[in-house]
């Protein structure tokens, strides 16, 4: 019997399976409806809405100071960067120039947030691929960052340290010393990460050539952040549209052209070094100055549209505010990186095995509340 005849005789059927909303690989309540033939994935349909809290609608009700607090709950791993995005937009609307001190402190904390976020991603990536130990190594170092945050602003995850016009209060006296200690510590730990996971043969076999995203697809699907840079799409907002103190530091935009899971992995690992270098450039000379520009108790943005983009740990976050001149905005829209990145998942996960889908998703670094808002 030839193969063709055999195929005609044995009738196979595709079936669907729910990956999520409660599934260990989904990192939250993302539901993927997979159409599977045996173990080969034929279609991936993301189903959102399980953690939709209508943050954008709530913003229309709140004052500008209150909106900042809501943004913590979107991408909770880059909460400081989200806060900053809103503050920058409001400051743009009010035409306030914040002091250099604020800019530098914001940038340092941005980069610490990025390191913390990438640490968590690294741990979870290992865990998704079955190497459970990575998680604990990553959390050891992430805890140190959280401790620094806790000392300075009282919160470990949802920071709320930014307010329109500056910072809520000045940094803690220990901040500089502890950050330096952390950087010295962390520089010895990144090579350890590489020894544990990056060089592992099984890890490389699992990630190289898996989930290839071409540069054209990345651009047409609006993919941003490390995911896009792994495909060679130069999209770093910090480089192309610098905000805060990014125009006064030297850093490389990490670009890889392979576009596979391993390339995305390498981009994030190299970004750890870049973040360390940015902090090192700034931490020794934080300028003196005001930590908060004077704003009115009730902020009213002038009539018009305001837009600001920042680079979170996952990609480009855009904040659009449409104001009619009242104390609360008429319409707020967040362009979240996770949503656009998720949209490309089906395109690159056709005819792969379940294990490949998990690896690809891990390299995209999804935070579900960021996708759903």
């Amino acid at each position: 019997m030839t193969d063709q005849q055999a195929q005609n005789k044995i009738k196979t059927e595709e079936y669907f399976i729910n990956m999520g909303p409660q599934h260990p690989a989904a990192h939250g309540v993302l539901r993927l409806i997979l159409t599977i033939d045996g173990e080969i994935i034929k279609n991936v349909e993301p189903d959102l809405g399980y953690i939709h809290r209508s943050i954008e609608k709530m913003c229309e009700r709140d004052s500008y100071q209150q909106i900042v607090h809501l943004t913590d709950r979107m991408d909770y791993l880059s909460s400081h960067i989200n806060n900053e995005a809103v503050c920058l937009t409001v400051e743009k609307g009010l035409e306030i120039e914040v002091s250099d001190r604020v800019k530098v402190i914001r940038t340092i904390i941005d980069e610490l947030t990025r390191i913390a976020s990438h640490c968590l991603w690294w741990g979870v990536m290992g865990m998704d691929l079955g190497a459970l130990t990575t998680y604990f190594y990553a959390f050891r170092d992430r805890e140190m960052i959280n401790d620094i945050f806790e000392e300075t602003c009282g919160a470990r995850l949802t920071m709320n340290y930014n307010v329109p016009g500056g910072l809520m209060f000045d940094i803690h006296p220990n901040f500089v010393k502890r950050t330096k200690d952390f950087i010295t510590h962390f520089k010895t730990k990144i090579p350890e990460y590489d020894r544990l996971l990056t060089g592992n043969v099984i890890f490389q076999k699992r990630t190289k050539g898996v989930g290839i995203l071409t540069k054209e697809d990345a651009i047409s699907f609006g993919v941003s952040g490390p995911t896009a840079r792994g495909s060679g799409f130069s999209s770093d907002v910090r480089k192309h549209h610098p905000y805060s103190a990014y125009d006064r530091v030297n850093f490389k935009e990490i670009l890889f052209t392979e576009g596979d899971t391993f390339a995305r992995y390498q981009v994030r690992m190299m970004e750890l070094w870049e973040s360390v270098s940015i902090i090192e450039q700034l931490i020794d000379n934080i300028p003196e100055g005001e930590t908060k520009a004077a704003t009115k108790a009730v902020i009213k943005l002038p009539k018009g549209e305001f837009y600001q983009r920042v680079e979170t740990a996952r990609g480009e976050l855009g904040v659009y505010i449409n104001s009619t001149g009242n104390k609360n905005p008429y319409r707020v829209k967040f362009r979240s990186p996770g949503f656009s990145n998720l949209s490309v998942l089906n395109h690159i996960s056709k005819d792969v095995l379940i294990g490949d889908l998990v690896a690809t998703m891990a390299s995209f670094d999804f935070v579900i509340p960021d996708i759903d808002r």
Binding site: E39, L129, L353, I354, D356
Partner: protein
């Protein structure tokens, strides 16, 4: 067959057996002693399995910068006892559309096959319940029955994740069975016997088999450890219950004590694989360089257990360091690399024996 000669040569067992023979007829006494030995073995390995779980948790903690269980009892020694008690007292839940008979049968397949293998273990010269002349063959045969239980569990659960896990288990175990068998065969070539006690005695004079057979032995050992890890469904070959892909794989729908059977069986299987490796490569109960050969009171069990724990630690080391393979890579590794290498290794071993190059 006189079973009393085969258990621990302590006076107490002798006294007990004499007493049993004195109070009942010979046939009844013989059966009673069989039952007593079986119950003792069951109890021993249930506890051994529990403490392997504790060891795994402690080893994992050391690898992961944690302390591990330390609240229940000193050094957490009663932790897994408490866990087992909790699992025993749990309600056995299941979904509606299961195949009830197969669903309930599956855990027993797994645990019984794991426990049966214990019967032939040569803990020491006297401490072996059942020294049959095809001991190695019996071990391979019995330990591969367990996969039927896993397949049944996946099939009868009426759960797609469980089914995928079970199918993966089937192809994984059938593939790696070949490597386990062939690497054992390589060593059997060297010893010329399948009886476990004779294999160990062969190592008394010429050194451990891993040294006697030098290169082919070392290759066989490495293949055996890889395939053995795959046989026990442990990381990096834990695709059967890959939690980031399949939730919990084949035992997704199991709860309470039925889940505990699967869980315990995994650890007992790990013990079995390590024991086979110790017998075939590291001289079983024999002490290294014969350092305790002349000390009469020294328990040979000590060396056996130490060696087995060493290999178990190696397997735990694998688990907490390596990422998981993908299902096609798993098959590629077996069929394209390990199997041809294994076949060549057998020929190499045959040549080594033929030319008398053994040490």
């Amino acid at each position: 067959m006189n079973f009393t000669q085969m258990i621990i040569p302590l006076n107490i067992t002798k006294t007990i057996s004499d007493w049993i023979y004195s109070i009942m007829p010979e046939t009844a006494a013989s059966y009673t002693i069989m039952v007593i030995i079986a119950v003792a073995y069951l109890a021993l390995f249930a506890v051994a399995g529990l403490y392997l779980v504790l060891l795994e948790r402690k080893v994992a903690a050391w690898f992961q910068l944690r302390i591990g269980p330390n609240r229940v009892g000193p050094w957490g020694l009663l932790q897994t006892m408490a866990d087992a008690l909790k699992l025993v007292s749990k309600e056995l839940t299941s979904t509606i559309k299961i195949d009830k008979f197969l669903y309930n049968l599956a855990p027993y397949f797994v645990i019984v096959s794991a426990l049966m293998a214990m019967a032939v273990f040569p803990f020491s010269k006297q401490f072996q319940a059942f020294d049959i002349n095809i001991g190695v063959f019996f071990l391979i045969a019995i330990s591969s029955i367990g996969v039927i239980g896993i397949l049944l569990a996946g099939w009868s659960s009426n759960n797609k994740y469980a089914l995928i896990g079970a199918m993966r288990s089937g192809l994984q175990t059938i593939s790696y069975e070949l490597s386990v068998g062939l690497s054992i065969l390589t060593m059997v070539l060297l010893t010329g016997t399948l009886q476990l006690s004779e294999i160990i005695e062969a190592q008394r004079t010429g050194g451990w088999l891993i040294l006697q057979g030098h290169i082919p032995s070392i290759i066989a050992f490495m293949i055996f450890m890889i395939a053995g890890t795959a046989e026990t469904n442990r990381a990096p070959f834990d695709l059967v219950e890959a939690e980031s892909e399949l939730g919990a794989g084949f035992h997704t729908e199991y709860s309470g004590m039925k889940f505990a059977y699967f869980f315990l069986a995994e650890f007992i299987n790990m013990f079995i694989i390590s024991s086979i490796a110790v017998v075939l490569f590291f001289g079983g109960w024999l002490s290294p360089f014969g350092i305790t050969e002349n000390i009469a009171w020294f328990p040979q069990v000590f060396w056996f257990i130490i060696k087995v724990l060493g290999l178990i630690f190696l397997m735990m080391w694998f688990r907490w360091t390596f990422p998981r393979l993908r299902v096609d890579q798993l098959l590629t590794l077996e069929w394209k690399y390990l199997l041809p290498l294994n076949l060549m290794n057998i020929v190499l071993m045959a040549i080594v024996i033929w030319l008398n190059w053994t040490i």
